[in-house]
């Protein structure tokens, strides 16, 4: 390779490395601003500001959804499986909202540690499957939650 081209190549590579380091440091420093939401662990650890509009995200805890029979009021727990935060919301929930599904809520944290949401968005995961497969999986997991001996039995033959 021609020495001049070698020199130019070195300059280009230096430019790229320097730039990457600069951007990496900037995004690292701003990570809390780039994060879309606080997770329940951060909120229960007191990292989220009280009475400021923030987003909270996590999974809707199984069996925690309570609907008010007379209004659109809903209360549920959002969890990341190490901490949970109670959420209140008045309004229409997205179609994908369900227990065990991920959500991102926008609202304010009040003094009692309850999150009062004014917008709830559904977050879906990267898994796609046909409905029949989902049904079969659900059946299998229900069978699996019965005494383990039922599943373990064939292995003894």
């Amino acid at each position: 390779m021609h020495p001049i081209r070698k020199k130019r190549l070195t300059i280009v590579l230096f430019l790229l490395v320097g730039l990457s380091v600069a951007v990496a440091l900037t995004t690292y420093a701003l990570r809390q601003n780039i994060n879309l939401f606080y997770d329940p662990s951060q909120i229960s650890a007191g990292e989220a500001p009280v009475d400021v509009r923030i987003r909270a995200g996590g999974m809707v805890e199984e069996g925690s959804v309570v609907r008010d029979p007379d209004s659109l009021k809903v209360a549920f727990m959002v969890t990341d499986y190490s901490a949970s935060v109670p959420v209140e919301y008045v309004g229409i929930l997205p179609d994908l909202f369900a227990e065990g599904q991920g959500i991102v809520a926008m609202g304010r944290l009040n003094n009692e540690g309850r999150f009062v949401a004014d917008q709830v968005l559904a977050k879906h995961d990267e898994n796609y499957m046909p409905p029949e497969v989902a049904d079969a999986l659900e059946k299998a997991s229900k069978a699996g939650s019965k005494p383990a001996a039922v599943n373990a039995a064939p292995a003894t033959y």
Binding site: E126, N127, M129
Partner: protein, 247 residues
């Protein structure tokens, strides 16, 4: 090895060779796209959670994938421009930037259309969506900068530097869903793991991605040929080509 590399840089040589395989790119690409679209939209099973609305994935993912891939190709060409001063590399960057812009816009648009029924919103300023919007502006910036500078050589260098500066955005788009909390879900396809989607869903998606690559290749050749003809209009081979219709 360097000889072949330098031969590749000759606009005339490229013009001749690209004319030969362009029809194959177009025919193959359209067939794959059609197969992917028909299979994906009509025959692939629906999703257990999102129903039929997930099918926009067969447009969204190929567009988003190509949008990033085209930028990486442009960045490689920009290095060639800066180090080897090869004209053809610059021709490539100028030819494909508008294509990349359209693909990025398509990815953002289909994403918004998909986001409304699934997430409940058209747009949210999360890391993935925002970095993709920055990619759109980068493509726009590359086109604008190129138009703004009249001198061909200075335009080529300025554009190459801008393209290279912007390439740091690509890993940010790719890993945004892992580094930060986002509303956008993580990648379904990973290099090291099986896709979290059954084969009857991902095979048509793969066909669409491959098809779009081929169509992009064809489009890049057409646009590069036009650019080459306009740049080399004073050379003898272009005059001969115009008179006789072949190189």
């Amino acid at each position: 090895m360097w000889q072949i590399f330098h031969k590749l840089g000759s606009p005339k040589w490229f013009f001749g060779i690209s004319t030969r395989f362009m029809p194959w790119l177009l025919v193959g690409g359209i067939m794959l796209l059609l197969a992917g679209a028909v299979w994906g939209l009509a025959f692939a099973p629906k999703d257990y959670l999102q129903g039929n609305s997930y099918r926009i994935i067969y447009i969204h993912v190929p567009a988003a994938f190509l949008a990033q891939s085209v930028y990486i190709m442009m960045a490689s060409a920009a290095i060639v421009t800066l180090v080897w001063r090869m004209k053809l590399a610059d021709v490539f960057v100028k030819a494909v930037a508008p294509v990349g812009l359209v693909l990025t816009f398509l990815a953002l648009f289909t994403g918004a259309v998909w986001g409304k029924p699934t997430w409940g919103t058209w747009w949210i300023w999360d890391a993935r969506l925002t970095s993709m919007l920055i990619l759109l502006f980068l493509y726009g910036g590359v086109i604008a900068l190129d138009r703004a500078i009249n001198d061909e050589k200075s335009a080529a260098r300025a554009v190459a530097v801008l393209v290279l500066v912007g390439v740091v955005n690509i890993p940010i788009i790719k890993y945004s869903v892992e580094w930060w909390n986002t509303l956008h879900q993580p990648a379904t396809f990973k290099l090291t793991e099986k896709p979290s989607m059954p084969a009857e869903m991902w095979v048509p998606l793969l066909l669409s991605v491959l098809g779009l690559y081929l169509v992009f290749g064809w489009l890049a050749c057409v646009r590069m040929q036009t650019e080459i003809l306009s740049r080399e209009q004073r050379t003898r081979w272009v005059k001969e080509f115009v008179m006789k219709g072949r190189v």
